[in-house]
């Protein structure tokens, strides 16, 4: 807990920017970070500070979302994201319903839109959805009044993960300007990478991606305005050179079967984050991983459990960030 200064000259302690309301918050849904201004991200991080304080109390529950219903609708299994959201909602005293569903091409989109209509009829105020197809939450929001939180859609976005990563980075680095962040792994199929690229670049960090070219999405090398500029660095040691933040991604082992990698063995050899490689980064660099970790594949066990790893803090911060987002979303006039 921060200490309150107790002195006679009080003037600099409280500044006008902390005044009553939040005109910067315009979001009815949280779909991706591509439409978040830096001030909005900053607001989420500040609100997260308050939520972390709540989490530090003996009674980790506040009544703010009493009477609100949060429904988690997962089309893909996920233990940690789901429980993180449910805990966050419960800490804010919301009622929580968990649903699992399956997307199928035989029933088509009717099922998604119908399912959401049903949830709305049940009184959902906020729907937290994980979906295996990119863009599913966008289709859904066209047909619902409740707020939507994207808990991961296909390869596209995972904004709450990126925000908890940003929060964790801010806790360690104080800010983002001029930070050098490296994302290593399957960028092409990673919603975590995409959302982090939006978030980190918006906050002024410089982002490099490091992966075999088969796992690199198209078009990053061309100057354009549809996606933030990132550096492409296929060689891991030069990518890590001077890095402040190192993010490794989970490697889906089926990438090898689809011909994108000759073998997992070779991937480990070329791209695993090892202690020796991490030594190329700055001495105070932190290591993140969205989890769950394939130990000794994308990251060595020693690094994952080492002093520079903040993987467990990410999990704790995830609850606080999601509390902040649910709070901010629920407050809109409706």
């Amino acid at each position: 807990m921060r200490e309150v200064k107790q002195k006679d000259e009080l003037a600099p302690e409280v500044r006008p920017e902390i005044l009553a309301t939040t005109p910067v918050w315009q979001h009815r849904h949280i779909l991706d970070l591509d439409d978040f201004a830096p001030a909005e991200i900053e607001l989420v991080l500040e609100t997260t500070d308050a939520m972390k304080e709540v989490l530090s109390r003996p009674i980790k529950k506040v009544p703010v979302l009493r009477g609100k219903t949060v429904i988690t609708l997962f089309y893909e299994p996920s233990t940690r994201t789901r429980s993180s959201f449910e805990l966050a909602a419960k800490n804010l005293s919301a009622d929580v319903i968990s649903l699992s569903a399956q997307a199928s091409s035989t029933v088509k989109g009717e099922s998604l839109v119908d399912t959401l209509a049903t949830l709305e009829a049940l009184g959902a105020d906020i729907v937290v959805m994980r979906h295996s197809y990119s863009g599913a939450p966008y289709i859904a929001t066209r047909h619902m009044r409740a707020s939507m939180v994207n808990a991961g859609d296909g390869w596209h976005a995972h904004p709450t993960q990126a925000l908890l990563d940003l929060y964790t980075i801010r806790e360690h680095k104080g800010g983002f300007k001029g930070l050098k962040a490296v994302i290593i792994g399957d960028i092409k199929h990673s919603r975590v990478a995409r959302s982090n690229i939006w978030g980190l670049t918006a906050m002024g960090a410089e982002v490099s991606v490091c992966c075999p070219f088969t796992l690199l999405p198209a078009g990053l090398d061309v100057v354009q305005h549809h996606f933030p500029k990132v550096h492409i660095e296929p060689e891991i040691e030069s990518a890590l050179c001077g890095a402040d933040v190192v993010m490794t991604l989970r490697l889906q082992l089926e990438r090898q079967q689809s011909g994108l990698l000759p073998s997992i063995r070779e991937y480990v050899k070329l791209y695993q984050l090892t202690e020796a490689r991490l030594a190329k980064a700055k001495a105070d660099a932190i290591v993140l991983h969205p989890g769950p970790v394939n130990e000794d594949i994308e990251i060595s066990l020693a690094v994952a459990q080492g002093p520079q790893s903040v993987i467990n803090e990410q999990i704790t911060n995830g609850v606080a960030v999601r509390m902040a987002l649910l709070y901010l979303l629920a407050g809109g006039s409706r």
């Binding site: 989109g109 839109v113 966008y138 289709i139 596209h156 995409r194 999405p217 198209a218 996606f227």
Partner: protein, 438 residues
């Protein structure tokens, strides 16, 4: 029913088949074009219906070499009746329907079925395209000879390109006997597997699997080589990439018998239309880039691309109301074709005469003469005339569509250029309410 002769007065008559582009009058009597000219000579008799066409373009009825009418099998998406009425509203008097129905058009029975439904319920001429392979399965040839005799104007397994180069060679060789073209939807399905839109930064941003230009170009190159090998007529459906245009240009220079088409949407829309996961912009081949559009327009002007065809691919609202990856490919295009294409004329990219040629005598030449003289205003030809206002602005409202397919990314957009009347075999099959006949 027009009983009295119809005088279309004072319109700008453009008929590229005869090299005509002049303000004048057109007379239709007994279902045929009886007079055409700029002269104000006194007209014999006085008992005419008169259509004042001042400020309007009068041209041969449009021909669409590539559309999907969904009947038999998918009548919830479109029928021959609804699709042909959509064609009439779009200024088309002849449309050629692809065989990816259920059952597919791979036998005389199915071709006869389409022809008989078209004769009884169709608003305009419907010409069927037969399958290349039995059941469109890409395993063995359909009875192409019988299909030709039954009236198929070309062969295609549209949407399901032949993976086997050998079968494609055999199809081309076999087609030689009938003089009909083989139409290929060029897509290397191994390269495009899982693809949802053009490969590039937009796909990357949206997290969608991309379809690279190379998936089209590699099959275009293969087919061109086979056309050269066999001497058969090859028609490349919906060309979309700069690379394809270049390949076709070189093939034409070598004298290979190839023709090519491009759709209005590939000429006017880019992949950016997909942003926001707009399933109505999901089409195969996918919307590409500005650079490809420039090459496609260049190809049209040079004659590398012979015609414009709509690839009208209607789907139901529910089909498109889904996760992007689960939505079917296709744009409902018959009713917006002219309006979108006119943007190219207004932008100075194409001349009116060139645009009309690509929609009339161009496709007529590919179809041949089996169905009489198409795409021309020659006197004594069946009166098939499209009258349009090049400057009239209108809002696309899919609820007005005759097509059952409301799936277009243009809904709500303003287009400049509108079909005012379509005359098929001497009769109005479409007439804008504001157009008065005296």
């Amino acid at each position: 029913m027009i009983t009295k002769p119809l005088l279309i007065q004072g319109g700008r008559i453009i008929d590229p088949s005869q090299g005509i582009d002049e303000v004048g009058n057109l007379v239709i009597s007994e279902g045929k074009i009886s007079r055409l000219g700029s002269g104000q000579a006194s007209l014999p008799g006085s008992d005419y219906d008169v259509l004042n066409a001042e400020g309007l373009i009068v041209c041969p009825g449009f021909i669409d070499l590539h559309c999907h009418l969904r009947q038999p099998g998918f009548e919830e998406k479109e029928t021959i009746s609804s699709g042909s009425r959509a064609a009439a509203r779009g200024g088309f008097t002849t449309i050629c329907c692809m065989p990816n129905t259920n059952p597919p058009l791979d036998s005389r029975a199915t071709i006869d079925y389409v022809k008989s439904v078209a004769a009884s319920e169709g608003a305009v001429r419907v010409l069927p395209i037969g399958c290349i392979s039995r059941g469109r399965k890409g395993k063995e040839l359909a009875e192409m000879g019988e299909l030709a005799q039954a009236g198929a104007i070309a062969f295609s397994d549209d949407g399901q390109p032949l993976r086997s180069s050998l079968l494609m060679r055999q199809a081309m060789e076999y087609s030689l006997a009938f003089g009909l073209p083989v139409i290929d939807h060029c897509e290397d399905t191994a390269l495009s597997e899982g693809g949802q839109m053009n490969e590039g930064i937009i796909a990357t941003r949206l997290g969608l699997c991309g379809i690279p230009a190379a998936a089209e170009e590699s099959i275009v190159a293969r087919d061109l080589a086979l056309a050269e090998l066999t001497g058969a007529r090859l028609h490349i459906a919906h060309t979309t990439t700069e690379g394809s245009v270049e390949l076709i240009r070189r093939a034409k220079e070598k004298g290979i018998r190839v023709t090519a088409e491009v759709t209005p949407h590939h000429l006017t829309l880019t992949e950016e239309k997909v942003l926001g996961y707009n399933t109505n912009a999901k089409v195969n081949p996918p919307l590409r880039t500005k650079r490809d559009i420039v090459a496609l327009i260049g190809g049209l002007k040079e004659g590398v691309i012979d015609i414009i065809a709509t690839d009208h691919a209607p789907h139901t609202g529910n089909d498109k109301l889904s996760e992007f990856a689960l939505a079917p490919f296709g744009i409902s295009g018959l009713e917006t074709a002219l309006g979108s294409l006119m943007s190219l004329v207004h932008a100075g990219e194409l001349t009116l005469a060139m645009l009309i040629a690509k929609l009339t005598c161009g496709p007529a030449k590919i179809i041949g003469t089996g169905y009489g003289k198409l795409g021309s205003l020659e006197t004594e030809a069946p009166a098939e005339v499209t009258i349009f206002d090049p400057n009239r602005e209108w809002l696309v409202d899919t609820s007005d569509f005759a097509s059952k397919g409301k799936n277009t990314p243009l809904n709500g957009e303003k287009l400049k250029g509108k079909v005012m009347a379509t005359i098929y075999q001497g009769k109005f099959v479409y007439k804008d309410e504001s157009l008065a006949i005296k």
